[in-house]
């Protein structure tokens, strides 16, 4: 076989058959489903008289549309209500596990998969959602698919794929104090660009990556798609094994021990080669803040917003000017002078317990700035419960944050959590596209620590000095 990368090992283990042109029928181990990208897939199954090949390999949860306020009254938006009841009915009809809105296990699909132990190393995992790359943190090959492919996986447990290329992103050294996995992935996207990973699966390596907790690795892999990558991977180690151990849908006893051996073998062999290599140093990554309308438009917290007049390339200059116009920012102003109106701590990128602990640390005993409206949306019912057991909810509430029910919420603003035109938000989510958090809304992507500090200060602050 020769030396293989981690990606090649997982890929090769899942090839059902291969066409002469390299087109591969790839077996899919786990399928996550949510309410927005699945109704047409289930309808397709019904119209063709097909049924799921392996309903037990599939888990469904409503997350994009769910209200984050009191749920006892149901959902007031009839369109959202219909989409969620459609998912519930489809799951009942086709025999698929479903965590409804009143279930403590409900939450953002990419938070609950790992939380329940559904996500295991070496698996292929898909979901009709681009942030499926999150699960790569476990050394699982995980990627987003469209609704036609959701139907394809339901019907066949397979997908037709072309083997992607590979990229290694190696971050050696150590991060400065107060910096986080979110800063690392934003710096990576700033470096390679939002199309830099097209057609490739990225493996993250190096001392900085190894030092991350499992939740940190999830934050990192989550935003692989924001660099255009098909998927992101971190090879499994003892931290991975420790994380999945004992979770409800994980394996037990002898089966766990057997699986563990296989998982710890999932590493890129020495001598295996990648199509591309990117090398970075942790020391060079201060806290990051996006200033524009895509995640690659990012700079250091102690930096300045760019000035289009300084940019030679006409296309880049025009795109920069357009982004600044949309964002309502003057060229060259220091990032720390940007005043904010809203703070959103949540999303599949940064809504896990460690994210909430870090954010709480920065606001303990402080007050949210009088002109800022801030909210925390935990990633799942279980994250919310744990945070409450640790008293984090009290810290947030006492500081003036709203403490909400779990869901995608203002990451994409499909529910009632929306920016109004012109409002500026420090957000721990993953996309700062035009209108992403509400038409005319202005999003700056940051880490949980940076968002919490900005909530208190009313503008961005360099948490290295502030702390």
């Amino acid at each position: 076989m020769g030396s293989q990368t981690l990606f090649e090992k997982i890929w090769n283990q899942h090839v059902v058959r291969e066409e002469p042109d390299g087109t591969t029928l790839l077996y899919i181990d786990r399928h996550l489903v949510h309410e927005v990208t699945s109704p047409q897939a289930f309808e397709g199954l019904r119209l063709a008289g097909r049924s799921p090949r392996r309903a037990g390999a599939t888990l469904a949860v409503p997350d994009h549309n769910v209200p984050t306020t009191d749920r006892s009254q149901g959902i007031s938006d009839p369109m959202s209500a219909l989409q969620i009841s459609t998912l519930e009915n489809n799951c009942a009809e086709f025999g698929i596990s479903y965590y409804g809105m009143q279930d403590i296990r409900q939450g953002i699909v990419h938070v609950i998969g790992p939380e329940q132990g559904l996500t295991l190393p070496g698996m292929t995992i898909v979901c009709g959602d681009s942030h499926t790359s999150t699960h790569g943190a476990f050394g699982a090959l995980a990627f987003g698919i469209g609704t036609s492919e959701v139907e394809h996986v339901l019907a066949t447990q397979c997908l037709v794929q072309k083997r992607p290329k590979t990229m290694e992103i190696c971050v050696e050294g150590a991060l400065p104090d107060y910096c986080s996995p979110k800063d690392v992935i934003l710096a990576i996207i700033g470096r390679i660009g939002i199309g830099g990973g097209i057609g490739q699966v990225v493996e993250y390596t190096g001392a900085v990556i190894r030092s991350f907790s499992m939740e940190g690795r999830m934050t990192l892999c989550n935003m692989s798609i924001e660099a255009g990558a098909r998927a992101g991977l971190v090879s499994p180690d003892e931290k991975t094994v420790e994380y999945v151990k004992g979770r409800p849908l994980s394996r037990q006893g002898e089966m766990f021990e057997r699986a563990k051996k296989a998982w710890l073998d999932l590493k890129t062999d020495s001598g295996a080669t990648f199509d591309h290599l990117v090398e970075m140093r942790g020391e060079d990554i201060p806290p990051q803040v996006t200033w524009g309308t895509n995640p690659g438009m990012v700079t250091d917290v102690n930096g300045r917003v760019p000035n289009p007049a300084d940019i030679d390339d006409e296309k880049v200059r025009l795109a920069t000017q357009r982004a600044l116009d949309y964002m309502g920012l003057q060229p060259s102003i220091p990032v720390c002078d940007i005043q904010i109106d809203r703070v959103f701590i949540g999303s599949c990128t940064n809504s896990r317990i460690e994210d909430l602990r870090v954010a709480a640390k920065y606001i303990q005993g402080k007050r949210v700035s009088g002109k800022v409206k801030a909210m925390v949306v935990p990633g799942s019912g279980l994250v919310k419960q744990q945070a409450e057991q640790e008293g984090l909810d009290r810290i947030f509430r006492e500081a003036g944050f709203e403490w909400r029910e779990p869901g995608c919420s203002m990451c994409l603003a499909m529910n009632a959590d929306v920016l109004t035109p012109g409002e500026r938000c420090a957000s721990t989510s993953n996309r700062n596209f035009e209108g992403r958090q509400g038409k005319g809304g202005r999003t700056h992507l940051v880490s949980p620590a940076m968002a919490a500090a900005a909530a208190v200060a009313g503008h961005f602050v360099d948490i290295r000095d502030w702390a």
Partner: protein, 207 residues
């Protein structure tokens, strides 16, 4: 899925790089449980000026592009969210082919599932097409999937690459699920072998 062999038609220009699927179809149009009628949402936020009036500069507001089945755009088209509502909305509007220097992976896949042909041309070829489209009211080309060429009225011919498997499915308008189901024996054999090698992957949950 409608088959695709050749297509001759007007090109509509969208001169922006990194167009994300949130722009192609904003979130408020994703609450549907159907895949039709989505052209209402196509570029909904870009079609309008902040006051809600139509932006006369946007291609879909110009009468000369009303019937255009081909979209010309820049790098990394369709990045971001995996929403298949993006190609559904383009198809509903009448777009059957998109020409760009590069596409985001998930969007590229989604196009093939819906009979829309995404064509990757060189940056220079795309620039030439932009120059001509902007100087000529109804600039038409032929996209020929069988020969893998884009034929320009001036006689130039740009060739493009496409996977043989995808090409075959597009030309025949084949349902991919039906094809995979023909490999049922191979899938069952895989499951049998793999469940012995890695049984922990095959303990399914019960509803």
């Amino acid at each position: 899925m409608q088959a695709f062999t050749t297509l001759t038609g007007i090109i509509a220009p969208l001169d922006r790089a990194d167009v994300d699927t949130d722009q192609i179809i904003p979130k408020q149009y994703l609450k549907t449980i159907q895949r039709t009628g989505l052209k209402e949402g196509l570029f909904a936020d870009w079609r309008q000026r902040p006051d809600g009036s139509p932006d006369p500069d946007f291609f879909s507001n110009q009468s000369r592009y009303q019937e255009a089945p081909i979209l010309l755009t820049r790098d990394n088209f369709g990045c971001g969210s995996s929403r298949e509502h993006a190609p559904w909305a383009l198809l509903d509007y009448g777009i059957r082919s998109i020409l760009a220097p590069s596409f985001a992976d998930i969007f590229y896949n989604n196009c093939f599932q819906n009979g829309i042909l995404p064509v990757v041309l060189s940056t220079q070829e795309i620039q030439t097409l932009f120059n001509r489209v902007l100087n000529q009211d109804t600039y038409q080309v032929t996209v020929d999937l069988v020969q893998q060429i884009v034929l320009l009225p001036e006689g130039e011919c740009y060739s493009f690459a496409v996977d043989p498997f995808r090409k075959d499915c597009m030309i025949k308008g084949i349902d991919g699920i039906g094809l995979t189901l023909e490999h049922e024996l191979a899938v069952s054999a895989y499951e049998k072998r793999r469940s012995q090698e890695a049984p922990w992957l095959f303990q399914d949950q019960r509803r």
